[in-house]
Point group: C2
Chain length 412, copies 2
């Protein structure tokens, strides 16, 4: 979790410029083609004079650069297009998961500029050791980034578990972590980050949340509100509303894995009964398909399942259909409640989407009151396996775009 934006304070004289810097930079980031200053003026309602002044600041701060004059028809002085700089600030994404460590660097434009994945079973590894290895990988990433004129301005760490406001990992069941003070442990290593006002040096967040953010910022831009479901051993969801992650009162939203889909059904390790995880979790699907659970690596099991289903194996198909139906019941609840029109199947579900999608859609159609007027899209995630690490790094980069003033004050 992060301690984000300050509560709406007074609008001071200088805030005006801060707001317009963010506004213009945001437009440049959101545009599908490099906009000219004139485009930005009409889009924002500011005068061309103001936009020019703002853009000058952004250029001086290395946040944007002028691109080749875009070919345009008609008369008139040719426009100079503005694009996000491919140097300057960048975000560091870190991920600790059950069977791998991942590190990546994402620049302002959302491009993944560096990526390292280390396959290793982390359940027997102590948290401090796992983080030490992650820091080692991050150091290499920093050096790599520096060679491309990228400065790391913040890091975000993804962990599959419940994280509190201070970054304490309360519980990461599948990792075997409990009350791990991540910020303290990381503070014992030399810092890799150049601190910038407005950007926390380190945030720790739930893997499902960051994967959802990754999806939000993926190219091409998708909807601003959706549900992203990470189907791993546990099932987590990231809820994105109006382009912002919804974290809940304590940051523990999205526990879709424990939605009761059969209230009097199988007991769950959470203490409840009939939780979705018991019917659509990876272990549940694998064992329902009759696969030996000896094949521990999660991605291997998923791949094997897809292989079997592809070959028409009846057990695998039935297991997937049943899991999809259970998932559909939960998704129908979410859609009834939040009126979302897009559901993204991520994590292990992405590879299984061809078989999960039909029963999920069937349940939505049957159970969602408003389905007749507003169709719901269900699609696999576009990001690959380490979506959370990419989302983590991207969330840092996005923070610079949302609050460029801090970075500009630094490089002044």
């Amino acid at each position: 979790m992060s301690l984000t934006h300050a509560p709406a304070g007074g609008v001071r004289q200088g805030s005006l410029r801060e707001l317009n810097l963010a506004l213009v930079l945001g437009r440049i980031a959101a545009a599908d083609r490099p906009p000219s200053r004139a485009d930005l003026a009409t889009a924002t309602g500011l005068t061309r004079a103001t936009v020019s002044a703002v853009v000058e600041d952004l250029l001086a701060g290395q946040l944007v650069s002028e691109s080749e004059p875009a070919p345009r028809s008609g008369a008139g002085r040719p426009a100079r297009g503005l694009v996000l700089a491919d140097q300057g600030p960048a975000g560091l994404g870190l991920e600790v998961n059950v069977d791998y460590l991942a590190v990546c660097v994402v620049d302002l434009a959302g491009q993944v500029r560096h990526r390292t994945v280390h396959r290793v079973d982390l359940r027997p590894v102590a948290p401090a050791d796992a983080l030490a290895r992650l820091v080692e990988m991050a150091g290499a990433a920093r050096d790599d980034a520096a060679r491309e004129d990228l400065t790391l301005v913040g890091a975000a760490l993804a962990v599959p578990g419940l994280i509190d406001d201070a970054g304490l990992v309360r519980l990461a069941p599948n990792l075997g972590w409990r009350d791990v003070p991540v910020p303290e442990l990381l503070a014992q290593h030399p810092p890799l980050i150049e601190e910038v006002p407005g950007v926390p040096a380190l945030t720790v967040d739930n893997e499902a949340n960051l994967a959802a953010l990754g999806e939000l910022h993926s190219q091409p831009p998708g909807p601003l509100s959706f549900l992203h479901i990470s189907g791993e051993v546990g099932i987590g969801a990231g809820i994105v509303l109006d382009g912002a992650l919804f974290r809940g009162v304590r940051g523990w939203s999205g526990e879709i894995g424990h939605l009761p889909v059969h209230p009097e059904g199988r007991p769950c390790r959470c203490g409840g009964q009939g939780c979705l995880e018991q019917y659509a979790g990876q272990e549940a699907i694998v064992s329902a398909a009759g696969l030996a659970r000896a094949e521990l690596p999660a991605d291997t099991a998923t791949a094997r399942l897809a292989q079997l289903a592809d070959a028409g194996d009846a057990d695998a198909l039935r297991a997937l259909h049943d899991a999809g139906t259970a998932l559909g019941v939960a998704v129908a609840s979410v859609v009834n409640l939040l009126d979302l029109d897009t559901v993204v199947l991520g994590g292990g579900y992405a590879a299984l989407a061809p078989w999960l999608r039909p029963p999920v859609l069937a349940e939505i159609d049957a159970r969602v009151l408003t389905a007749a007027w507003s169709p719901v899209t269900v699609r696999p995630s576009t990001l690959g396996a380490e979506a959370a690490a990419v989302g983590a790094a991207g969330s840092v980069a996005r923070r610079i775009i949302a609050q460029p003033a801090g970075w500009l004050a630094r490089s002044g």
Copy 2:
């Protein structure tokens, strides 16, 4: 639904004052004691000079007034307290429900200054006729308000059904309405509203949503995020996140009545199976308690049920317990998903809260993963029967507080 705030446009020169007007007025509205200019300066971070200038505008525009000097200890010139004016702009709230029409006027401070309720079974009444009677009541309310120097600046209408962006009532099953173009029908009557920039003359919204807003603005101030459940014939919910109503992509959020609590259970008129409404809707409870469903008026049936339960009637107690359990399963889903810490039982549930609360809490404890760390409060609504009308009127008044510039521009 309403066509609210424009998409974050450019921050112009004058926006600065607009923003600070809203900021200062908002602080005055949120304060528990009348703040002085100096209090506001420290609270907002603005200088005292700026606050004085802003307050002068607000005083000139009749939005605030100076109260008696608050008794304060210590030396120094005594402060002049600022309070929201009890005259000036006010909101008109309208409600069409199954068995009553309601109209009320709420001032800036959130006080209900006028209230009329007309008990009548509206199912046999044509929509146009129902609205005509409502307009008649509203005319009397307007005259009443004018005598107290209140100006109606907008109206909000609550309807128990699905409303689209344009104010069209797509479906109000219990009222028997379908595709009713409310704004068109109301436009045929003489206007009662003095239009103000930034405040739509009429918005139409779901009853459950507006009831939740009423709860949000009730005194004393409660939490900024909560789930408000309106238990009537149908079950609707209003989701309030960070002090704002969450409406969903198409404005159809909160359909908690159709969350599947027994996926293979009783068929529901929505086409699904095992929806909450079939287990915890008013009709379901009443018939489970063995009460003749001949007693049609909903409030009567609820009152009788409470009476029986109070007297220890076994059937009534069992019916309420079962309904509470079903409700608890649905609430557990919501809490797992959104991590809310407060659930308000409103509408018909308010009176039944003593019996519904225990089973709801039991299900939450059993099924919510994070319940151990973050207790969930379940309490009855503080507003009475016509909560939606009060919430509707209050939402209009709140809009003035959020955007005072429009009103000030009007009054010269």
